[in-house]
């Protein structure tokens, strides 16, 4: 509860897929998930899991920073904060108070594509949570006075995550140059100036547009009787009217022309950071499984390639990795990043990262490395069934891609990737003349300016 109301920043959002739980086999789940779409369009997934007397209730709205416009960035995340500030029947703070009074834990996060709310609680309290979620799906107060107060909280959050955090700052700056047309170019939390400016009517309009049952997925996983829960969901949510279909995001990022580069000098930073990002396709592409496997080959564990080469063998980096956002709704970036050890320059480290990218193009990944990465992905799928929370979020993440049933197909798709596929996607998507490079350098504090 320490940092309630999370915002997933771009690198975290890029790893959205990495948090997805799922069973390995089709038989593991297919018969168990009770699915329904209510008349008002609300998508419902219920899964019984009787291991502990608890339940995870999650409502995911298909809205994130992707649905914002320039000039009003940060709306989705700001609204997430306001979702805890009351309805006509339950005043501000009531949501948290009721959840805690019933032994539950709640939180939320905003990402580029989604805003997610969850409550984990004793299974016999599921009804309370359903009523609370239904209430704030449609009846939010959005009191201007509360908006102004919460505005300050969001600005504090931005100071923590971006202004005073070199990693956050660099990934924000690099996204801003890697995209020029698509909303992925601005940060999830929004620009400070716009957080400061956003007004109540804008929040109200955003809420009315996107917080409708036909734009939401509700998942319940835990020690419950699925048919009973579904019946109750119909009662509690069924009366909420369907809204107009939210407007589609029409922005398409044009092909990149030429390399882009940003150098950020940050006072207070202790070590530099180098990031390289390439535009890549998302899950809709047949190349997506190869890209997903590639990110595992590059970064998962100490035997992974970037750790082994840059950290272990060359002793140039304190850390290094790569990230792919398989589940991104629109095509996104594949990130490489590294921090040099003292005594090594960012230029040398950037070259070393680029050398590794060239090796991916010129040499097939050895069998052992390929098999290891596949085994890692498969094992992580099994591990993510460990909690009802991760099972619920996994179902929704795949439902976002089209159907929760896709999770049964994911591991077989990964298993089918060949070394030639890896080499092919590295050549196709990591062209040396279309990279986005971000460098963060520690800067001396500026000379004191006149008052």
């Amino acid at each position: 509860m320490r940092t309630a109301r999370l915002v997933a920043l771009s690198l975290l959002a890029a790893a959205i897929f990495a948090a997805a739980p799922a069973p390995v086999t089709a038989s593991g789940h297919s018969g168990e998930v009770l699915e329904a779409t209510l008349d008002n369009g609300l998508r419902v997934l219920v899964l019984e899991d009787r291991r502990s007397p608890i339940v995870s209730v999650q409502v995911w709205y298909k809205v994130g920073s992707r649905n914002e416009r320039p000039g009003a960035t940060g709306l989705a995340h700001f609204l997430e904060h306001m979702m805890f500030k009351g309805t006509p029947t339950r005043g501000k703070g009531e949501f948290a108070r009721l959840v805690e009074q019933n032994g539950g834990q709640d939180n939320a996060f905003t990402a580029q594509d989604v805003t997610s709310y969850f409550v984990n609680i004793a299974a016999d309290k599921v009804d309370l949570v359903l009523r609370l979620e239904a209430d704030r799906m449609r009846n939010l107060l959005l009191d201007p006075k509360e908006i102004d107060s919460e505005r300050q909280v969001v600005m504090e959050e931005r100071r923590t995550r971006t202004e005073d955090d070199p990693d956050g700052l660099l990934s924000e700056e690099l996204s801003a140059i890697a995209f020029k047309a698509h909303p992925y170019r601005w940060p999830i939390i929004g620009w400070m100036e716009e957080i400061n400016r956003i007004n109540p009517p804008e929040l109200r309009a955003f809420y009315d547009t996107y917080y409708v049952p036909n734009n939401a997925i509700l998942a319940v996983v835990g020690d419950v009787k699925a048919p009973d829960v579904l019946a109750r969901i119909r009662e509690v949510f069924g009366g909420i009217p369907r809204g107009p279909t939210p407007p589609a995001v029409t922005a398409v990022e044009p092909p990149q022309i030429g390399e882009r580069r940003v150098i950020v000098r940050k006072a207070g930073a202790q070590l530099p950071i180098v990031s390289i990002a390439y535009h890549v396709p998302n899950h809709a592409s047949p190349d997506a499984p190869a890209l997903e496997l590639l990110s595992t080959i590059l970064s998962e564990g100490r035997a992974s390639r970037l750790y082994r080469k840059l950290v272990y063998e060359k002793r140039m980096a304190l850390g290094a990795g790569g990230d792919y956002s398989y589940a991104s709704v629109d095509p996104n970036l594949f990130w490489f990043y590294a921090t040099p050890l003292p005594g090594h320059t960012v230029e040398a480290l950037e070259r070393a990262l680029l050398d590794e990218i060239e090796v991916l193009k010129s040499e097939p990944v050895p069998d052992e490395e390929l098999a290891r990465a596949k085994n890692q992905i498969e094992a992580s799928f099994v591990w993510r069934q460990d909690s009802v929370h991760s099972r619920a979020s996994g179902l929704v993440r795949f439902e976002m891609l089209g159907s929760w049933r896709l999770l049964d197909r994911f591991v077989p798709m990964i298993r089918a990737v060949t070394a030639a596929d890896i080499q092919r996607v590295a050549r196709a998507y990591f062209p040396s003349d279309k990279k986005n490079v971000g460098v963060l350098l520690p800067a001396e504090p500026p000379a004191p300016a006149g008052k």
Partner: protein
């Protein structure tokens, strides 16, 4: 198996009230190692955590960082194979094997699919019993730790936390950073690491917590085959002075960095579960700053918009405990946020909490206990804490009972005793203001 026959019978099963299940099956094996098992068969995964009393509190005098470096190097090569081969072996089956040092202890954790348990246990036993501590790996790791320490100066919470440790435990080993300092780590020798491992990695100071798709008989047999011959050295286990009864002078320290936001930690030593005031203080902490309904959260965040992060926490450890109020606010907001926080701390001791607050806190703390056991990792950590702090395997029930018994008068009494802001050291890490 033969070496592990002197099994001390599972405890407490008979002492548990009817209807309550103990959180683990416990036994002490022949070599003194404590085995805790929680069978969870639904998913084919097994988590094995070996906890050793070998944390930074045992660092040799003048050599902060030895414990942490020793833990880091466990997986960097054994008598049988070099580090990279270990990495490849465990990662090939999608498993992980990590060692991590804290203040009190080191946890070596293995996570594997059930089908790979034998391999995982082989590797686990190797890193525990036969680490090679290659000189080259030590040099490499020292450079990494030094760079990580340098980088951690960017993080105001880390900086504030270190300064608070020094303020709360002067003269006690809790005062120094777990990883050591850039200077101290640079001086650590292989000989120091070898000696540390010899003295502190011993079965009679080890707790093995197993959670997952495995039976107690099976895991006892498998562990016995690999760790049964691991014998305790002749010497006694190291002793550490208690930091419980000591209240150091409250200091105020401000560290200036290039930051747009200030991080404030207010802290003082507190008490552990074995103290009669502990459970009332748990309640007091919850009412003050435990959740989104707490006084600090309401007053500083919800009403005034002064902070994103504002909380209080009570953290018991083996040789001491701390009570901390933490907040982050814009540089200009520090005085006001601190004034509000101190006012709320004082008010806890001045007047009784309301019946509604007490009910909410009790209901939350009792009702949310199952959420403290909703992943294998959390179950393992709880089992280890229960063992290390002597809480008893019926802890979930005792917790419920003890929390349920706390009155508003108890909360006021302990708040007056432990939450007086004048007894708190205050560390502020902040930027310059104009």
């Amino acid at each position: 198996m033969r070496l592990l026959t002197r099994v001390v019978a599972a405890l407490l099963l008979s002492a548990v009230p009817a209807g309550a299940a103990p959180i683990a099956q416990r036994e002490v094996l022949g070599n003194g190692m404590t085995l805790l098992v929680a069978e969870r068969s639904a998913i084919p995964i097994v988590s094995v955590s070996v906890y050793l009393r070998a944390g930074s509190v045992f660092d040799p005098p003048g050599a902060p960082g030895v414990a942490s470096l020793t833990a880091d190097l466990l997986t960097r090569g054994t008598a049988r194979r070099p580090g990279p081969e270990l990495d490849r072996a465990i990662e090939f089956v999608g498993g992980s094997l990590e060692a991590d040092a804290g203040k009190d202890g080191v946890t070596v954790s293995l996570a594997v699919l059930k089908k790979d348990l034998a391999l995982g246990l082989d590797l686990l036993a190797e890193v525990l019993r036969e680490p090679a501590f290659p000189e080259d790996e030590l040099k490499r790791r020292v450079a990494e730790v030094q760079a990580a320490l340098k980088r951690s100066e960017e993080n105001p919470e880390t900086v504030a936390g270190r300064a608070l440790g020094q303020a709360l435990y002067p003269g006690h080993p809790y005062a120094h950073p777990t990883q050591g300092t850039i200077e101290s780590v640079g001086k650590i020798t292989r000989e120091q690491v070898l000696r540390f491992h010899r003295e502190h990695y011993r079965p009679d100071a080890a707790v093995v917590a197993v959670v997952g798709d495995v039976t107690r008989d099976e895991i006892r047999r498998e562990l016995g085959a690999r760790l049964g011959g691991w014998a305790a050295p002749a010497g006694a286990r190291a002793a550490v002075p208690s930091a419980i009864a000591v209240l150091p002078p409250a200091i105020t320290r401000t560290l200036t960095r290039e930051l747009t936001q200030a991080t404030v930690y207010m802290g003082r030593p507190a008490i552990r579960q074995d103290h009669p005031d502990y459970f009332p203080l748990v309640l007091a902490n919850y009412v003050l700053g435990g959740g989104s309904a707490s006084r600090l959260y309401t007053r500083v965040r919800e009403e005034r918009g002064l902070a994103y992060s504002i909380y209080s926490s009570l953290s018991p450890a083996r040789y001491g405990a701390s009570f901390v109020v933490g907040l982050q606010t814009r540089n200009e907001g520090v005085d006001e946020a601190m004034r509000l926080a101190k006012e709320e701390m004082s008010r806890m001791g001045r007047e009784q909490v309301t019946a509604a607050e007490l009910d909410l806190a009790r209901a939350y703390l009792i009702g949310s206990f199952p959420l403290r056991m909703d992943t294998s990792g959390k179950v393992a950590r709880l089992m280890i804490a229960v063992e290390e702090y002597g809480l008893g395997l019926d802890y979930p029930d005792r917790y419920k009972e003890r929390i349920g018994r706390v009155t508003a008068a108890d909360v006021q009494r302990v708040a007056a005793r432990y939450l007086d802001p004048a007894t708190f050291s205050v560390i502020t890490v902040r930027g310059k203001t104009n």
